[in-house]
């Protein structure tokens, strides 16, 4: 690998073993669903647990380089499964629950599709998951579910052969990210990427203080989901490889009671905690002034913010609300990353808080930003270039596609060579994000790719459109299109445009309601605005490809003619995004 960082472990197993030996008193504490009591175990215990379960996975016949899904909540069962598979030399694939609002069935469907797409035979999940999936007739539930009970009952394979040896360049695990076919894509992450990226991030985060973050601090407190790159790499690999104590809350615990995150940060000396913008926004909105009493955020040195657009109005409001409780605005550290880069690409290394410039001409109007935020400079061994549509490089100050190269860049999408070839050339990954460089620092201004990022989660529009089409029977001549527009500090929200032949206002209200219900059930996603238009109003290229960007522009300009909708049932319309 092209890095001059000395003494990196050769693979993740070695990284875990070193944590067990070098910081034997440190480890991971995982809170229960209520977020009050936790089960804390050392890295040594994690290593032994993982070795044991690796042998049991081998006993179950799971082989090297075999993808296996892990559909468990943040828990020690998750650790046992994910690290056990990793040490076995198989490829763990952390998979989400479908979200609190979405039906369990939607989760089973997703697991089913992913397993088929990547050829996985097994998913590690709970008893309840297995029983429900079986009751609903999902094929994988017959043989494919490894419950924790089944894992514990499996005879461990004898000898050291159960532990696979991996080289740095080998694939370590697959990271799921939204795919345009309605099935998530599996990003291949190598051992070297999964090691280099967090270690280089640790160095960049500590830059304002003169040394890597882990020498200055002891613990991290996180609620980010482990099936998300920021949760897995930023909040699990980083503390493990750098020897920090880690405190993990379930994401749903944070969403239910955001104060717990800040409370645990204070009481466990957390000086290091990341979140997407919406997490900070949620704290501002949900922790009222009287509930801020008793919080102590004075040790918080690095409040990383990334995974979606950083909004100065959010960081400003958060600072104002929590400064009286010890929070320092300069602790905010914007960063930029994505799954295909393992995680981090750039970090703000100045440590003077959120720095902005006026949004230049060409900034996407749909993001409703008057200022753009510096996400800092590339981490070590990593390069960023801004490309014109013809692929040529652009000088500083000019907006183009952000392209990255470095040890963290992914190996490709598993089983999808064409999709890989479209974005990965000569080691350069074309991210689909738009931005410019100024003084070597990256500013994001929009996206070339059709993608919604809601609460830090990537959603391909196709996923939403398929559901809308299933209601209208569209998808052929009549189409539907989804995109996002930002609504101030609330961030991106979904807008769905549906072409339709029927113009009866009452009937349209019914159809619109059904589309919202189905999207809600399947994805837990509210539609901020749903509008019907006449057939042919969604712009297409001459070859028939939908032009979502152009459609979105017309929506923002107010030049899209909506069909009149009248709801005789008088249902409350969901709020429209303000523009």
């Amino acid at each position: 690998m092209t890095t001059d960082i000395a003494g990196l472990p050769t693979n993740l197993r070695e990284g875990l073993r070193r944590a067990a030996l070098d910081v034997p008193h440190r480890g991971i504490a995982i809170f229960d669903g209520r977020g009050r009591s936790c089960d804390r175990r050392s890295y040594g215990e994690l290593y032994r647990l993982a070795c044991d379960s690796a042998a049991r996975f081998a006993g179950l016949g799971i082989g090297r380089d075999e993808p296996v899904l892990v559909a468990l909540p943040t828990s020690w069962e998750w650790m046992e499964a994910w690290f056990g598979l990793l040490l076995r030399g198989a490829w763990p694939v952390a998979s989400s629950g479908a979200g609190a609002m979405a039906a369990a069935e939607a989760q089973f469907e997703k697991v089913d599709k992913v397993m088929a797409a990547i050829g996985a035979r097994h998913v590690v999940a709970s008893d309840a998951f297995q029983a429900q999936a079986a009751a609903q007739g999902f094929g994988f539930a017959r043989e494919g579910v490894v419950t924790c009970e089944r894992l514990h009952a499996a005879a461990p394979a004898a000898g050291d052969g159960a532990l696979g040896h991996s080289d740095g360049g080998d694939v370590a695990f697959l990271q799921l990210t939204s795919g345009s076919t309605g099935v998530p894509r599996a990003v291949m992450i190598t051992h070297q990427g999964a090691i280099h990226n967090p270690v280089a991030s640790d160095e960049a985060i500590g830059a304002p203080f003169g040394e890597p973050m882990h020498r200055l601090t002891e613990s991290m407190v996180s609620w980010l989901p482990l099936y998300h790159d920021m949760g897995l790499i930023g909040c699990l690999m980083l503390p493990l490889l750098c020897g920090l104590d880690t405190w993990l809350l379930r994401p749903e615990t944070f969403l239910a009671r955001p104060r717990l995150w800040l409370e645990h940060l204070g009481s466990h000396g957390g000086s290091f905690a990341p979140a997407p913008n919406f997490g900070y926004q949620l704290c501002v909105e949900r922790i009222s002034a009287d509930k801020r009493e008793g919080l102590d955020l004075s040790l918080w040195r690095a409040a990383l913010t990334g995974a979606e657009m950083v909004r100065p109005e959010t960081t400003g409001a958060f600072s104002a609300a929590f400064e009286p409780h010890g929070f320092r605005p300069e602790a905010f550290r914007p960063c930029y990353g994505l799954a295909e880069g393992t995680l981090a690409v750039t970090f703000d290394v100045e440590g003077s808080g959120v720095r902005t410039r006026p949004a230049p001409r060409g900034t996407d109007a749909g993001f409703a930003m008057t200022e753009v935020v510096s996400t800092g400079v590339p981490i070590r061994d990593t390069r960023v270039r801004i490309a014109a549509p013809d692929g040529g490089g652009l000088p500083e100050g000019e907006i183009g596609e952000v392209c990255i190269k470095g040890p963290g860049v992914f190996r490709g999408y598993y089983g999808a060579p064409e999709a890989t070839a479209a974005v990965l050339r000569d080691g350069w990954f074309a991210t689909g994000d738009l931005g410019f460089l100024e003084g070597g620092e990256l500013y994001l201004t929009g996206r070339t790719k059709d993608l919604l990022i809601v609460h830090g989660h990537n959603i391909m529009p196709d996923e939403i459109e398929r559901i809308a089409d299933s209601v209208t029977g569209g998808g052929g001549l009549m189409r539907s299109a989804a995109f996002s527009v930002a609504r101030g500090a609330a961030g991106e929200q979904a807008v769905v445009v549906v072409e339709i032949a029927d113009h009866d206002p009452g009937r349209l209200a019914e159809i619109g309601h059904e589309i919202r219900v189905r999207i809600g059930r399947a994805m837990g996603l509210p539609v901020a605005d749903l509008l019907f238009v006449r057939r042919g109003r969604i712009p297409r290229t001459t070859s028939g490809k939908m032009q979502r960007g152009e459609l979105r522009q017309r929506y923002l300009d107010g030049t899209l003619e909506r069909l009149h909708v009248h709801d005789p049932a008088g249902r409350a319309p969901a709020q429209e995004p303000s523009r």
Partner: protein
């Protein structure tokens, strides 16, 4: 206030929709604009206002205002104060 009235008041407060406009057939996501964060906020607020504990299995089946009211009504508050 009855349990139903309390539950409706909580739904109105969390959704920021006038209580007079809220009806049992309304869908939480489609009609009231809930996302997962709001849904979890609603569960916590309900648990605290009524003094019940809603299990994950029950929570997974809650889609409409009517579903919420049904769960709230059938669940007896525990004799011990709820864990908060």
């Amino acid at each position: 206030m009855s349990i139903t009235e309390t539950a409706l008041a909580v739904i109105a407060r969390v959704s920021k929709v006038d209580i007079a406009e809220i009806r049992p057939d309304m869908d939480l996501v489609a009609d009231l604009g809930f996302d997962s964060a709001k849904a979890l906020e609603l569960l916590v607020e309900l648990e605290e206002a009524i003094g019940i504990e809603i299990s994950d299995e029950q929570a997974a089946g809650l889609n409409s205002v009517g579903d919420i009211l049904a769960v709230a009504e059938t669940m007896q508050p525990p004799t011990q104060p709820p864990r908060i």
